[in-house]
Amino acid sequence: MLVSRRLTSHPLVSFIRRNSTAAEPPPAGGHLPSIATSQILRSTRERALRTPGLVWNDDEDTNSIVSVGRECRKMNVYQAVRDALSIALTKNDNAVVFGEDIAFGGVFRCTMGLAEEFGRERVFNTPLTEQGIAGFAIGMAAMGHTAIAEIQFADYIYPAFDQLVNEAAKIRYRSGGQFNVGGLTIRTPTMSVGHGGLYHSQSPEGFFMGASGLKIVIPRSPIQAKGLLLSSIRDPNPVIFMEPKILYRSAIEQVPIDDFSLPLGRAETLVSGADLTLLTWGTPIYHCETALHLLADPPPELAPHIPESVRKAKIELIDLRSILPWDAEAVAESVSRTGRLVIVHEAGMTAGVGAEIASEVQKRCFLRLAAPVKRVTGWDTPVPLQYEKFYIPDAIRIMDSIVETLSY
């Protein structure tokens, strides 16, 4: 699967050139040439139904493990999110969806038609009032409601930071278990879009990592988005669900149309390997996949920089999926086998999620490590508009770090 040699040298050349100062517009295919051809996406019904960890949530049918006869439909991420919201609203009369401009579909179309289908009492616009939205949602959830709120961009979550960290995360603890806001789910689009700049391309997941009581989930694909979102909505803890915004349209899979869930707090191994663990979540998964292709089969321009000895390395690619709590067992197990870890995330390096993971892994796997844990991340600057593609870790940087770590 990994060594499918679909990438011709042409898109790679253009890929590399876009990272230079050439003043050409990006190709019409989008910024991520690897997504359309990604092997990670489950583009057939058979593969979709074999998604690891998938659990059917059927109403009557107790024989819910059976995947035979299940229907799938081609969806992108925003359609999968909409599908999950629709199921949540159908099955739970106390579920309510609200946020800025969501009644007419939201800026990313994740709530298209929900207001018409479920009524404006249950799917409604809020004022532009992030702290208020979070507080309001917490109040509803404290009454036992299922509150599914949208913060229009993860970059706008900072006004709500106090409500989420001080109220949502702590209410169970500080009330000695009497109150909780388990019905709260905050959906928010995250990560870079290529030209979002300072206030539309940030990845704030790391800021919430110390807020025990919260869960943070980041899906990579339509199936993952639907299953993890339904799990998040039904999880008895408040969950911040961050949807990588560039994947809304570009990641397409066959998605089962029934109600199903995927486990929170569990990483998923996408590619097995024995020589190096490559850990990431969200959009960079596809950059990582591209990096693995580049490593195994470098184009002529890159070949001189990639020693023959590392080209046959078996790289284990893991999608962390849940940032809090994160699957330390799975990561440590993998690194204990491979001895090498490269962590990729879009947020800046200092005190990013990678820092916490690196620290825990060096503790658990110290004697197994053959190289220092490497982090490939955004730089410690704001996300710059014109230099966004320099900021975001791309396939070349990831591949370079893999080579460096393998040949340490």
Binding site: F136, G139, G144, Y173, R174, N180, D235, P236, L264, P325
Partner: protein
């Protein structure tokens, strides 16, 4: 800056003089109290007990009974005793951390409870101890929580600002954060078609927080049964209302939400205003309402604030001697022949005995178990596999 502030104060003084009446003892008896102690009789509030903004004032004629008056007296006296006990325990270093007392503001908490039903919801900030007890908690539970003991209402895991009952959504430590939460609670009440309201309390200091206005807007936009209650005790921490707020008429700050300013020192006025607000939001379904109780705190903002650096001792003394809510009620009771001084002294003794017994019980309760450090973070069974403890070696595995 100082001269500017002085100017402002002096300009406002005549307005205040014509404004709200905050004496605790200006309510007049209209007809002689009946001998039956549960029989209501009419009293008349001072005509300046209320100021209204885009709404009518409540009736000045109020029905009360002897039982009610004595009940309120006992509650107020007990609440004050409890806060005094907390004060003493804090000074004895048995209570640590942050602790905000409501001595002087008893007419608000007791008056609120008198005007609402058990099904209504209340949420407030950190000055929360009396509300927690009146909403179905216990003195033992509050003191126990302050002491960090198992018997505390949050099992000793919260502390002073973190006390809850099924109808009381807690004290909150972050200034103003409880106000949008209250709007959300009110939305759930409306959604569930319950004939109840949420009373979201905040102080004059919090009224300048952005999210308070966010909550106002949403509540009015969606016509939520939410009463925003501003307890104006004239100082937001160490800054007087005049120095912190461009508009100190807090009851007018809801934009399209009507407001009512209330003498927060006279329990009969506070109870009448709360009933009016409940009628407005629940029975008449007119949406949210602002209530501003003009009151006064005798102590500092918190235990670490002596409360005398930004106001004079004379000012505090004057408020205590002329506008004390408990003394005011005591005067009504004695003058109207509801009970004698001796009978009230007996109630005082009972209040003290109740509090003393609760304090002893709370002190006897053990501290939370070490294993409870890790409980109530996530829903049981959905925790992460492990969580770090107090030192390097201490790691809790779920």
């Amino acid at each position: 800056m100082a001269s500017l502030a002085r100017l402002r104060v002096s300009r406002r003084l005549p307005q205040l003089a014509r404004g709200i009446q905050t004496s605790a003892d200006t309510t007049q008896l209209q007809d002689a109290p009946p001998s039956e102690s549960s029989q209501p009789f009419t009293v008349k509030l001072h005509e300046d007990s209320f100021r209204a903004h885009n709404c009518d004032k409540p009736e000045l004629d109020v029905q009360v009974s002897k039982d009610q008056l004595l009940g309120w007296y006992k509650q107020m006296q007990t609440m004050r005793r409890m806060e005094m006990a907390a004060d003493a325990l804090y000074k004895a270093k048995l209570i640590r951390g942050f602790c905000h007392l409501a001595i002087g503001q008893e007419a608000v908490s007791v008056g609120l409870e008198a005007g609402i039903t058990p099904e209504d919801r209340v949420i407030t900030a950190y000055r929360c101890h009396p509300f927690a007890v009146l909403r179905g908690g216990s003195i033992k539970g509050v003191i126990g929580e302050l002491l960090g003991r198992q018997v505390g209402m949050s099992h000793g895991k919260g502390g002073s600002m973190h006390i809850f009952t099924p109808s009381f959504f807690g004290g909150n430590g972050i200034v103003g954060a409880q106000v949008p939460v209250g709007a959300g609670i009110a939305f759930a009440q409306k959604y569930l078609e319950k004939d109840t309201a949420t009373f979201a309390l905040y102080g004059d200091g919090a009224s300048n927080q952005g999210q308070v206005f966010e909550a106002f807007n949403m509540a009015k936009l969606w016509n939520l049964p939410c009463v925003f209650v501003c307890e104006n005790n004239k100082y937001g921490m160490g800054t007087s209302a005049e120095r912190s707020s461009s508009n100190t008429e807090y009851f007018t700050r809801g934009d399209k939400i009507p407001g009512l300013q209330v003498n927060g020192m006279d329990i009969i006025a506070t109870k009448q205003a709360v009933e009016y607000a409940r009628q407005w939001t629940v029975a008449e379904k007119k949406g949210p309402l602002l209530l501003e109780f003009v009151t006064y705190r005798y102590g500092g903002h918190s235990m670490s604030d002596p409360g005398t650096t930004y106001r004079t001792r004379e000012e505090v003394q004057r408020m205590r001697s002329t506008q004390d809510p408990i003394r005011g009620l005591q005067r009504y009771i004695e003058e109207w022949g509801v009970a004698s001084e001796q009978e009230l002294k007996q109630l005082d003794k009972e209040a003290k005995a109740t509090v003393d017994a609760a304090v002893e019980e709370a002190k006897a309760s053990p501290e939370p178990l070490v294993k409870d450090l890790w409980t109530d973070i996530y829903y049981k069974g959905t925790e992460p596999p492990f969580m770090r403890g107090r030192e390097r070696e201490e790691i809790h595995h779920y």
